[in-house]
């Protein structure tokens, strides 16, 4: 069960978790007024996560110049995330829920993995105020947001929030 409805139009909780350097961060501060692609990840060991996060790393250049964020949440410890991030060549923020403080509250426990008890591989695209734009269930790998879907969502959110989207 979840304390929070994680549906489009609802507000995603303002997670307070250490980042990959161990520094406590709030999701809203990391968003910093920009749209967010929030990716829940099983962890570094999962081949699907390794593949998917390489996709995100490949698209990070676009997020960085388009004033948007990629944020990954997993149960890996900060030092593990930091190593994984460095290996990927990622520059985006990882948030560590190694104590699983938010996992159960969000109702995102991956029930089939009783060894790691990780997050389900869900994805959310968020407005800067953390209102959910779209939800991607993530199972079977094909359930994850493609990079084209993330681009389309960032475009839709940016169009809604940025001044002077249309010329003139």
């Amino acid at each position: 069960m979840t304390e929070f409805p994680l549906d489009p139009g609802a507000r995603f909780p303002d997670l307070d978790l250490p980042d990959h350097t161990g520094r406590l961060r709030r999701l809203s501060d990391v968003a910093g007024g920009d749209p967010v692609a929030l990716i829940c990840s099983r962890g570094w060991w999962c081949p699907k996560e390794q593949r998917y996060l390489r996709e995100l790393t490949a698209v990070q250049d676009e997020f960085e110049v388009a004033y948007a964020r990629i944020v990954v949440v997993s149960i890996d410890a900060p030092e593990v995330q930091s190593s994984f991030r460095a290996g990927l060549g990622a520059r985006f923020v990882f948030l560590s829920d190694s104590e699983r403080r938010w996992l159960d509250r969000l109702g995102l426990l991956e029930h089939t993995d009783t060894t790691h008890r990780p997050y389900r591989p869900m994805g959310f695209t968020l407005f800067p105020d953390l209102t959910i734009h779209a939800v991607y269930p993530g199972y079977w790998y094909w359930g994850r947001a493609t990079m084209e879907e993330l681009r389309a969502d960032m475009r839709t959110i940016s169009r809604a929030i940025r001044d002077a989207w249309e010329p003139g």
Partner: protein
């Protein structure tokens, strides 16, 4: 303080903040001067007093050094990091960068030193600012990275 940030001046030996400062003056992320000042702290000033030491913010090497800051420089500093800012000269030009840390020996790998050489000075001017999660470019022309938000 202006829309371009806080005025920070550097004569090659001393850092000063404010209108009466001497030396070459830049604009730095204003958040670095809000709140409690961190002491002891050291600033690695990767900027030169020479007015000719400048380059456009849009140069690829200025983009890349900021990518490096996000990728590994900030994680490498860890808890030692106090704040960092690029140093803007005007709406177009990058004049350098300053990284402030709680240790004087933290700056060996500073990627900003690739652009302009660095000098370490002890300082009590700077407040702690959370490290940036992005972007890699300034938000408004002349607004020193990583400051500001839309």
């Amino acid at each position: 303080m202006t829309e371009h940030g806080a005025r920070l001046c550097w004569d090659g030996h001393r850092l000063e903040v404010g209108e009466a400062s001497v030396g070459r003056c830049f604009f730095a992320d204003a958040r670095c001067f809000h709140g409690a000042r961190v002491t002891p702290a050291w600033a690695h000033v990767c900027a030169l007093p020479d007015e000719a030491a400048r380059m456009p913010f849009d140069q690829p090497e200025v983009q890349q050094v900021r990518r490096d800051a996000l990728a590994w420089w900030i994680p490498l500093l860890g808890d030692a990091l106090v704040c960092l800012s690029t140093l803007a000269l005007d709406e177009v030009h990058y004049g350098g960068a300053v990284t402030v840390a709680r240790r004087a020996d933290a700056f060996t790998d500073d990627p900003f030193a690739r652009l302009f050489g660095g000098t370490i000075v002890e300082t009590d001017l700077f407040a702690a600012v959370d490290p940036p999660p992005g972007p890699v470019l300034e938000r408004y022309a002349g607004a020193p990275w990583p400051g500001g938000r839309f």
